[in-house]
């Protein structure tokens, strides 16, 4: 098991290095960092001085090395647009994104898995038909439209919930949370639902498809032939076998919630890293783009590791070390 995790860790490092390299390429070659930082009225001498100071005259690999070592310390330079350190910008906005992503992940996971199991077990019923149709509408509705619709109904027409922002927040050290005040919680409801809907439909459809697949296998047929109760077959056998593939894909889906929050944050003017990123893309604020890319990759790698470990726990065939992965 330790060897397995070590190998996975090594792979994760490779992935991170590759992403860092891409981020570095973006950072270094998209636009001209010097003129972006100095603005219009600067002299050639200013340019040259800044190039020297930023290390842009050094060989390529040295620059990449600096980029990686700086990144390891959380240093991604100064935002062109906001003229503040990127790391500071991200840290300020991170709690907002994480709280949003966490809330919507829970909604997506609980409802997605629950409805997936329900629709797989109750095939050909009216309820399943309704849920499946709704889920198709769900994947066809762009997230931003869902957000606008929810705002219109619950904020503009019914005036039950706020339409933008985080409401009142409380500082816990550097972590600024909206979970401790009523207005903060009320502000979270609409964005969390908006963000969760797409993942919810995906997870539900996935769980359903996998469970139907499992219910058709020989060992389920044999379990029936052995006279086990319907309950034991559905929840003892089918569900556990369904979870093996579901864990992987669901894990990755939840990982992507953080990046997916970009849209939701824009619609609800949620002060998270996603809206920071969108604003940066529009004006090609390269340091922020590069830092965000590395940040999302880190989330992905961590979730991937957790998924692998879960996999290990669920599937005895892996524990034997006979196979090295998927």
């Amino acid at each position: 098991m330790l060897a397995f995790i070590a190998r996975r860790l090594a792979q994760s490092v490779v992935v991170m290095l590759v992403v860092a390299f891409i981020a570095f390429l973006v950072f270094r070659y998209v636009g001209d960092p010097v003129s972006s930082m100095l603005g219009q009225d600067s002299t050639m001498a200013d340019h040259e001085a800044l190039r020297e100071r930023l290390g842009l005259n050094e060989p390529f690999y040295v620059q990449f090395y600096h980029f990686v070592t700086n990144a390891l310390q959380g240093q991604f330079g100064i935002s062109y647009r906001l003229q503040q350190p990127v790391s500071q910008l991200i840290m300020e906005r991170l709690p907002a994104t994480i709280e949003l992503a966490f809330a919507s992940s829970i909604i997506a996971l609980v409802l997605g898995v629950g409805l997936g199991i329900y629709t797989a077990l109750r095939q050909r019923t009216f309820g399943t038909g309704v849920i499946m149709t709704l889920s198709l509408i769900g994947v066809s509705l762009p997230t931003f439209l869902i957000g606008i619709g929810l705002i219109y109904i619950f904020a503009v027409e019914l005036k039950w919930l706020p339409s933008f922002g985080r409401g009142q927040v409380v500082d816990l050290g550097w972590w600024r949370t909206g979970l401790l005040t009523e207005s903060g919680l009320r502000s979270l409801i609409l964005p969390a639902i908006t963000l969760s809907l797409f993942q919810l439909t995906l997870i539900m459809r996935l769980v359903r498809a996998e469970m139907l697949e499992v219910l058709r296998t020989d060992y389920i047929r044999f379990a029936k032939a052995r006279g086990l109760s319907q309950r034991a077959i559905n929840f003892g056998h089918a569900l556990r076998n369904t979870m093996v593939p579901v864990i992987t894909i669901t894990g990755l889906q939840l990982g992507s919630v953080i990046a997916f929050a970009i849209i939701t944050e824009t619609v609800f003017q949620w002060p998270g890293v996603g809206s920071l990123f969108v604003n940066s893309v529009a004006v090609v604020d390269v340091p922020v783009m590069a830092a965000y890319l590395v940040f999302v990759a880190l989330v992905f790698v961590v979730i991937n590791l957790i998924v692998d470990i879960l996999y290990f726990i669920v599937d005895p065939r892996l524990r034997d070390g006979a196979k090295s992965g998927r």
Partner: protein, 546 residues
């Protein structure tokens, strides 16, 4: 007179398919007496499996029982509500499926699967159920059962898993066991043991057996009575000895005639004279093939030792022109790897293959010579024809690729001639493979092989995916073509009876080693190697009818 355990009367099972209704079982009636082993035999599509599913109440929807009765100890069970049917399963009727690799849930230990079954039916606590589970495993012949009970299914071999499956089926002491092709996925040597275990456990626990199989040999050795089914109907019922020796119905007569046996039959080819090895048409010399095991593509990039597995180990044999060499072996014996090396799909690690004096792995020239002379017929006629191509293009591909014929009318002309040779109507050349049955597809595959005008054809299990009656026709065709074109065959098969009837000489492959080779009669009538003797003993054959 005692009451039958199972009594089926006029059973009809229907499958609605689009607008039509397909009748899988059409008015089947038979009885099974207590403690009796009844074989239900038939070719694919006979409805035998569906009859078994109907009895245990596991027909996949939209299939359903349309009419008829099923009685268990006189009590009608086909019309019971689902919950009550579920109570019969395992408790009064047990079932064994074909493939032991997929019958067990891979995520639970065999012990847990046994105890949950036992406790679902018997009033035992966990410890008692576990003890009973161990007893059952011991009875089923699992060595060190007390230790192995906590192993997962993937830690057992196929034969061992089927023992576990049988133990599971018998666990709650049912009166009837339905065994649906219980040994068809297993090797011959394992097959014999599993049949013994099944019979022993059922007689120990007083269960009658409904043994569903396509293999008349298995029934001949196992069953008391048999029911012959064809197209959803019962053709003939009687004791095994009666039906095999004195079949009454024309269908049964034909069926029994088409079953090859390992005893020398009239019409079998003559054993070859001792070949002069240096002049033989095909010479295989010290063939070796190693495979690397384990590791993904990335780990292979890293330096270090990779573990090697020797699939084929120093195999040598020769084939005279116009003769057939039968290569026999169980799964994993390396026989298919041999075939792939001879046709040029897998490069040998070492050794030499000469066809008509040309070393076929000796660079471009060798490849050229091989393509002209060597062809192959594959096992699965469903996978060996490209489903998106028309029959004409499939058969024409070799002649086009090798430049034998390019002009359209000439190609069509040749394709038509080939189709006639394999006894198909040339008019079918515009059709797609899915419009043909398995046997017809295999004929098309043979026509494709002949299309490049080869002299030597490697036949890898050419009939094992086919029903026996179709198998007999394809084998006949192969023999006729051999005579007409002077073809040389390498016949690779796990089926000893087919090899006996088709080959001049035989080689027996075991774990990559050729343990014995020689003229056919000598190998079959006077085997020298222990392994060959064991194989011949284990073969279920209708000549061995009790």
């Amino acid at each position: 007179m005692t009451e039958p355990v199972l009594s089926i009367k006029n059973l009809v099972v229907e499958f609605p398919f689009h607008d039509e209704v397909f009748t899988a079982v059409n008015g089947v009636s038979f009885d099974i007496m207590p403690g009796e082993v009844v074989g239900v035999v038939g070719e694919s599509g006979a409805g035998k499996s569906m009859t078994g599913s109907a009895v245990i109440g596991l027909i996949e929807p939209p299939g359903h029982i349309a009419s008829g009765e099923i009685r268990l100890k006189g009590e009608r069970i086909d019309n019971l509500p689902e919950e009550q049917k579920a109570k019969l399963r395992g408790k009064r009727i047990g079932m064994v499926f074909q493939d032991p690799l997929t019958s067990l849930n891979p995520l639970y230990t065999v012990g847990r699967q046994l105890t949950e079954t036992i406790r679902a039916h018997l009033p035992l606590n966990e410890a008692q159920a576990r003890q009973k589970a161990i007893d059952l495993l011991v009875e089923a012949g699992i060595p060190k059962a007390a230790e192995r009970i906590d192993s997962y299914p993937h830690q057992f071999s196929g034969g061992m898993r089927q023992r576990v499956v049988i133990a599971l089926a018998i666990a709650a002491g049912p009166e009837l066991i339905i065994a649906d092709e219980p040994t068809s996925a297993l090797d011959v040597s394992v097959q014999a043991q599993i049949i013994k275990v099944l019979k022993k456990l059922c007689s120990n626990h007083g269960a009658a057996v409904m043994l569903i199989t396509h293999d008349m040999g298995v029934i001949a050795q196992t069953a008391d009575r048999m029911v012959v089914m064809h197209h959803g109907k019962v053709v003939e019922t009687g004791t095994v000895g009666d039906i095999i020796r004195r079949p009454r119905e024309p269908y049964t007569v034909k069926l029994i005639e088409s079953i090859p046996t390992i005893v020398r039959q009239e019409g079998a080819v003559l054993p070859s004279a001792a070949a002069n090895d240096d002049k033989a048409y095909v010479q295989v010399k010290s063939l070796v093939r190693d495979f690397e095991i384990g590791g993904g593509s990335f780990t292979k990039l890293l330096p270090g030792k990779t573990e090697l597995f020797r699939a084929v180990n120093e195999v040598s044999f020769t084939i005279n022109k116009g003769e057939t060499f039968g290569l026999v072996g169980e799964s994993g014996s390396g026989k298919s790897t041999c075939a792939k090396m001879i046709v040029g799909l897998v490069r040998p690690t070492s050794g030499q293959i000469l066809v008509d004096g040309h070393d076929i792995w000796a660079g471009g020239k060798g490849h050229q010579e091989r393509r002209k002379r060597v062809q192959m017929i594959f096992q699965d006629p469903y996978a060996s024809l490209n489903p998106r191509w028309r029959v004409r293009d499939i058969i024409a591909e070799p002649m086009r690729t090798l430049g034998i014929a390019r002009n359209r009318t000439e190609v069509e002309h040749r394709v038509a001639a080939l189709l006639t040779k394999v006894r198909l109507d040339p008019g079918v050349m515009r059709k797609f493979p899915h419009e043909f049955s398995g046997g017809q597809r295999q004929r098309i595959a043979i026509a494709r092989a002949l299309s490049s005008q080869p002299e030597f054809i490697v036949c890898d299990e050419p009939t094992s995916a086919l029903d026996v009656s179709v198998q007999a026709q394809v084998l006949d065709l192969m023999r006729a073509l051999q005579e007409e074109f002077g073809l040389t065959y390498l016949l690779i098969s796990h089926n000893l009876a087919v090899v006996r009837q088709m080959s001049n000489a035989v080689g027996v492959l075991h774990n990559g080693v050729l343990v014995e080779k020689g003229p056919t009669d000598q190998i079959f009538d006077n085997p020298q190697a222990d392994y060959t003797r064991m194989l011949l003993d284990a073969v279920p054959d209708i000549s061995k009818v009790a």
